[in-house]
Symmetry: C2
Subunit: 456 residues, 2 copies
């Protein structure tokens, strides 16, 4: 016997989808100045819709970039308060020629709606808004207190919302956050993300000669910063993928045997992943750990770029005065950015070869995050998902970070429920982004039932 709100959602599904398409038609590309007005239009549409469905106090909050959208409904005394988060901005649609239908003309094909932002994150924002509408329309009230906070800069670093959250405004007082910007592990498999890796993003700058020199004249006497960097970088990680910074692994809290056992039961094929997702000759990483362990629960080290010297076509025989390596490390629970960076910096300084000065800089960092699964909101979510999807929820982690989850925890003390309904092949940030229409419908039902369970 579905709740009346779930029935309402089912009856109104065609309209919900039409409305989502209207939102998808707005090219709210946050990184492109020419779409600044479009971002505001998307924010205004959300603000008006929130007001229209019965949320109160709906307004825009100005930032240095695109505005935040806020609304609340706080008439459930004694019940917890949810902070509902999503983002209305999207990635640029390039390369345009690879889209089968135009990125800002939502098109249905094969049970999906195709458009930039379909799954990341407008479709998921709309599941939230429509779940709230269904509850308010069917019941005349919400089962708990709700604050909504949408941002328009998630794809460009989220500075506006970070500053707002860091100011700890009374308007964000809540008990937990509902973040809908993640995906199912596999089609039909209800999924909650309960762990994120942290990171330190660094630069190593090596300086040799005072100015750029000619390699004919000075090669064999002048230090070459790229050679020095290669020597340093090759000592950061061995060929098996083990990070060589002394003490780097000391504080790691490994996943529990139960969590590892659950991961082994996930429908995941490493060879399929290698061929279909990565497309490399072979995978790399620490022996003895599965791909899921390596990407979710082990620290890693990557080099992202090495600015300096000559990078044009052809040949220039320069020994550059300096060169830089952009190096990041992903951290896992137990590790802290401060300690990890300190160990790394000392080690790099120690192994730097003669002839160069090195400068090791921290560009930014984020804490790893782990949500205990015995948390009452996670429990409520699993009950709701079981009912809607007919299967037990899988708890997964993600290898990346969702900075806002860390901000909610650090500044507001809120645990996050990361419940999203994307699929691994939804082409996030790529051409032909899509959102599965059944997931859109079941997503709304799941959120309705989750809010009901969380308020019960």
């Amino acid at each position: 016997m579905p709740s009346s709100a779930v029935s309402y959602a089912g009856q109104n599904h065609p309209r919900f989808l039409d409305e989502l398409k209207s939102l998808l038609r707005i090219p709210s590309v946050s990184t492109l100045p020419e779409h600044k007005a479009d971002c505001r239009r998307a924010a205004e549409m959300l603000m008006m819709e929130l007001s229209h469905i019965g949320m109160e106090n709906a307004h825009l909050i100005e930032t240095d970039g695109h505005p935040l959208v806020y609304a609340d409904w706080l008439h459930a005394p004694g019940k917890p308060t949810a902070l509902v988060y999503g983002h209305y901005d999207v990635q640029p649609p390039d390369p345009l020629e690879e889209w089968l239908s135009p990125p800002f003309e939502p098109t249905e094909r094969n049970g999906n709606v195709y458009a930039r932002g379909a799954v990341d994150d407008k479709g998921q924002v709309w599941t939230q808004v429509k779940a709230l509408e269904s509850l308010l329309a069917a019941d005349g009230s919400l089962p708990l207190n709700v604050r909504v906070l949408f941002e328009g800069e998630e794809e460009v670093g989220g500075e506006g919302i970070a500053a707002f959250v860091a100011s700890r405004p009374p308007d964000l007082k809540a008990d937990f956050a509902l973040v809908s910007d993640t995906e199912l592990f596999a089609p039909g498999l209800p999924t909650l993300c309960v762990g994120l890796r942290g990171m330190i993003y660094t630069e190593i700058e090596a300086r040799g000669a005072r100015t750029d020199l000619h390699s004919g004249q000075y090669g064999g006497a002048a230090p070459n910063p790229f050679v020095a960097l290669a020597q340093i970088l090759a000592q950061l990680k061995d060929e098996a993928g083990h990070i060589l910074v002394p003490g780097f692994y000391d504080d790691i809290v490994p996943p529990s045997p139960e969590e590892l056992a659950a991961w082994r039961n996930l429908p995941f094929d490493e060879e399929e992943y290698r061929m279909a997702e990565v497309g490399s000759r072979q995978l790399v990483g620490e022996p003895g750990y599965s791909v899921l362990e390596r990407t979710w629960a082990r620290p890693t080290l990557d080099i992202h770029g090495m600015p300096g010297g000559f990078i044009g076509a052809g040949a220039k025989t320069v020994i550059p005065a300096k060169a830089t390596a952009k190096v990041s490390m992903r951290l896992v629970p137990g590790m802290t950015p401060t300690k990890s960076f300190g160990l790394y910096k000392s080690y790099v300084e120690k192994i730097a070869p003669p002839g160069v000065d090195v400068d090791v800089r921290l560009i930014h960092s984020g804490d790893a995050c782990l949500v205990p699964v015995d948390n009452r909101y996670i429990q409520a979510a699993t009950r709701a998902l079981k009912e809607v999807w007919g299967r037990d929820t899988v708890f997964i982690r993600a290898g990346g970070s969702i900075p806002i989850v860390g901000d909610f925890a650090r500044h507001l003390g809120l645990p996050s429920v990361m419940m999203g309904f994307g699929l691994p092949d939804d082409n996030l940030h790529a051409p032909n982004e899509k959102f599965n229409l059944q997931n859109f419908a079941l997503g709304i039902q799941s959120l309705i039932r989750f809010l009901e369970e969380a308020g019960s």
Copy 2:
């Protein structure tokens, strides 16, 4: 008792300098399209001057870029023929704000003339033209046959002259080349350059995943091409500067004990060189070899740039699908580009770590070159220099290559006499380029006496 041509040069020195200043006022920057007409103006001025002083058959030779200037005087039957080479194009003058006087307003200060091109190479070209004028004016003839070939693309790769020389035109039939684009080892020390290193310039491209990936999601499983390159590059050369490619040193013909002994007598201080020229914390390179040996007579390996990934300010967490290292090696007599590249390519392919495909490409190469000092033109040059400078000539090598010297040898079978009158602190390619006025005068005298000796 100076020759009458030398007397003529002395009497006319003020005019020669005024004329040089006219040439220096033409901003013939070969790399900048807006100076195309200026390059032609400089070529035409040289053509007219050659005709004016009594050279014959003066004309421009069109190329795909800036024109060549040709003239000859071939009325010394039974005497050898010299091919006189220099270039009229100059480097861009940036950064302008560092010039104490404008780069294209030649200014005398401290016994120097300051201007872009003063020493590289207009001042030296003018020593050649004025030596020819002095001989023709004082004697009514030249002591040997002379062909003049000036180019206007030396600073941008010299493609026009290379193609022309490769076509082996009858107009370039000669017995030796006189190349005036080098410098004295120290002030007052007559110098001939008799050796140049060769080179191979390569790219190593490493490819991992099919597309760029996010390091949060894939870090720990997807191969990182920069990590692979660092591992490869760190195995190319050890920290002492010894190249680790097997067989790389096998064919080296070392300098003779006499040449090494002569180098040890050169006025050269490694600590002064480190501080004043290189400006690095310490010098690098193979232990047991002096700086001059390391830069003139030992192969070296340098990395010039590593295109790929993210090189902007800040952080982007990309695992790039591919990355490239631009790597060159300087070669010394005995080594050949073909064999050296083959050894290097095999080694790189062998040490490439799992997960990546590597592609090792040769971008360009040049042979090392060694001029025997018992060559009659070198002997004639040393006699002339001794007379003008009052000191024995030092034979040095250069660590770089002068491609035209290789082209003259390969296509025309000509040995080159590399006789130039720059000084190590003349600011070639830098602000406040200068030419010492005494060297300008002694350079003209040296060339007059050299041509007389070569024809005797």
